[in-house]
């Protein structure tokens, strides 16, 4: 295993700016948020827990022009993203988005390109957020997949592991920035992982979240229950839970004319909003808020396990943190266990 100190990590990131748009977490309020790394910037943090913002926004843009006039051209053409400090829950988000958007016949071209050419430098969690519950959806609070290079914070630097050919090539090409990992530091990583995992587990257990393999079953069992009416009482239909969610992928296509050209935009959409399922002639199969709430949970905890064997929730707790109605996804799941 290898070690890199913070100064050398700064150099590594600086060297990546030529080939990538490098996004780093920076401290914002009590949290972290992603922004572009400028020339010689070193004002980033690796972050002890996931950032405020979901990483999907760098791959699946909130609003993107996807077609112009009748031309077949793919419009976004920029350097691929390099995301620094991505956490395990963010990587789980990519698993779901990959399932949705990567496809031979109808794949989303800009998402696929960003995923193929992009670089992910992930990091272990070193703390537990107030709303975190990743272990309840079978995710460990350290990256185990979908990363190129992972950083495990230790004193004065990071233990480095590689998770892909691209990551191994990158480390190989910049050997001078890395040294052998000291044994005691490798041990410290193991300690941190087991400590953080047990803290998330304790927190999730205190909330009474059903165990992961029961989630699908409890949703099915309570499909017709009044629980959905109760839990949607405080919902204000803002859609924040959707926009902030690393696995929410719904969008709508919107056409307009600008500068005499026809433009088609792909924009994030929210299944909590009344019009989401409305059809021509004004019929709406989900005209009640509780039906939309139920649909959101059904999609994440029943649909995705059914079609991909992956729970469509990363346990990041962003939806709970963002909800102005203080709807806590953990408490909703716990109610279903009764």
């Amino acid at each position: 295993m290898l070690f890199i100190n913070r100064g050398n990590l700064d150099q590594l990131l600086e060297s990546l700016r030529g080939d990538y748009r490098v996004y780093v977490p920076r401290s914002m309020g009590g949290s972290t948020g992603y922004s572009l790394l400028g020339e010689s910037d070193t004002d980033y943090v690796i972050g002890s827990i996931r950032s405020f913002d979901p990483l999907k926004s760098f791959y699946f843009l909130s609003r993107e022009k996807v077609a112009e006039d009748f031309k077949p051209d793919i419009l976004r053409d920029e350097k691929p993203p390099c995301i620094v400090g991505a956490k395990a829950c963010d990587l789980k988000g990519f698993r779901i988005l990959d399932f949705v958007f990567i496809d031979d016949e109808f794949g989303d071209p800009t998402y696929m390109k960003a995923r193929k050419d992009g670089l992910i430098i992930s990091a272990d969690c070193t703390d537990v957020g107030e709303t975190c519950f990743c272990t309840a959806v079978d995710i460990n609070p350290w990256p185990e997949f979908e990363f190129d290079i992972n950083l495990s914070p230790v004193d004065e630097g990071f233990i480095v592991t590689t998770g892909s050919e691209k990551g191994r090539d990158l480390v190989e090409s910049r050997k001078n920035l890395f040294s052998d990992a000291p044994e005691d530091q490798v041990e410290a990583v193991k300690q941190n992982r087991s400590n953080i995992k047990s803290r998330v587990m304790t927190s999730a257990q205190e909330k009474g979240i059903p165990v992961a393999d029961r989630l699908k079953w409890v949703i099915k069992k309570h499909y017709e229950s009044d629980i959905w009416k109760d839990v949607s009482e405080d919902c204000v239909e803002c859609g924040a839970c959707n926009t902030i969610c690393p696995t929410c992928h719904c969008f709508l296509l919107y056409d307009q004319k600008s500068d005499g050209k026809l433009a088609r935009y792909r924009m994030w959409d929210s299944c909590m909003i009344n019009d989401f399922a409305r059809v021509a002639g004004n019929e709406n199969p989900r005209d009640r808020l509780w039906m939309r709430m139920r649909n959101r949970f059904d999609k994440k905890f029943n649909y995705f396990p059914e079609v991909t064997e992956e729970i469509g929730c990363s346990g990041c707790g962003r939806c709970t943190a963002a909800c102005p109605g203080k709807i806590d996804i953990r408490e909703v799941l716990a109610k279903l266990e009764v």
């Binding site: 996807v66 077609a67 009748f70 031309k71 077949p72 051209d73 793919i74 949705v100 958007f101 496809d103 016949e105 109808f106 794949g107 989303d108 071209p109 696929m112 390109k113 499909y223 992928h249 719904c250 969008f251 709508l252 296509l253 919107y254 056409d255 307009q256 004319k257 026809l262 088609r264 792909r266 959409d269 299944c271 989401f276 399922a277 409305r278 059809v279 021509a280 002639g281 004004n282 019929e283 709406n284 199969p285 989900r286 649909n295 999609k299 649909y303 059914e306 079609v307």
Partner: protein, 271 residues
């Protein structure tokens, strides 16, 4: 890489007014664009938006395509303003077509209602092309009143054919109508086929599909042999945008034609 969001340019060649709120548009795509019965297209008015429609013309005609459209909202209002010579967009074909291979050697029942007669027309052309490979062919169509019958003269031509058992009904008659009066399920009792093995295809408004399905079950048609054309809110048309989910399926990419056994357990299918 292919851009799945891009429409192909097409020219409006002809506009036919079918009823005060329904028009048929004959379109000529500027690039090759073919479809199978049961598949649909996203039809766009430049700068206004897209909406999904099933073509109503014969899928073996490759140079042009007809689409019959009811005026019900923003996009269809704009479509109804179109004139010959105007430019529109077509994106598709999308969805899966009817599994014609499975119809070979079988009795086939087609139940169509209201504006559902538009996609049924494409299907009927397809079935007529393979008529010799089918056993019996039965058609039962219904509308609210005779004025709502699309392609009435064409339907009357089909009635004269001796290779189809065809009947039409209306909920409310008028002076021009001397056929049966009642909903479509009231003209299904005299159907004479091998229900145990027959394939039934239903297309129409949700309430009509619901009662036609129950009637077919009563007659002994298997749920796995009842093909329903589902309608949900569809934006992308290829299973990515998330709008049209029915249980584990997307209406657009897994359908829009589903057999009843695939979807019967999911709530809201008739909504």
């Amino acid at each position: 890489m292919k851009n799945p969001y891009r429409s192909i340019e097409a020219e409006v060649l002809k506009v036919t007014t079918e009823t005060p709120s329904i028009k048929t548009f004959l379109l000529k795509p500027k690039e090759e664009l073919t479809f199978k019965p049961g598949q649909f297209m996203e039809f766009s008015v430049p700068g206004v938006g897209e909406a999904p429609f099933t073509p109503s013309s014969d899928s073996q005609i490759r140079e042009t395509m007809e689409i019959t459209i009811v005026k019900v909202g923003k996009v269809t209002d704009a479509i109804h303003e179109l004139k010959p010579g105007d430019t529109v967009g077509l994106r598709g074909p999308l969805g899966k077509g009817y599994p014609f291979m499975k119809f070979t050697g079988q009795d086939v029942l087609v139940i169509g209602g209201g504006v559902g007669l538009a996609p049924v027309r494409t299907l009927m052309y397809g079935l007529f092309h393979m008529r010799k490979q089918l056993s019996k062919l039965v058609y039962r169509g219904g509308c609210r009143n005779p004025e709502e019958f699309l392609y009435r003269s064409e339907l009357e031509e089909w009635m004269k054919r001796d290779d189809i058992d065809m009947k039409l009904t209306v909920d409310h008659g008028d002076d021009s109508w001397n056929g049966p009066i009642g909903v479509v399920t009231t003209i299904m009792d005299d159907i004479d086929v091998n229900f145990e093995r027959a394939k039934a295809i239903v297309c129409g408004p949700p309430v009509m599909m619901k009662f036609a399905t129950f009637k077919l079950q009563e007659l002994g048609v298997r749920d796995s042999n009842i093909y329903l054309s589902m309608e949900k809110n569809m934006s992308c048309g290829f299973g990515k945008c998330g709008h049209c989910r029915i249980g584990p399926y997307y209406c657009c990419s897994d359908g829009p034609v589903f057999t009843y056994d695939m979807i019967r357990e999911y709530p809201g299918i008739w909504d």
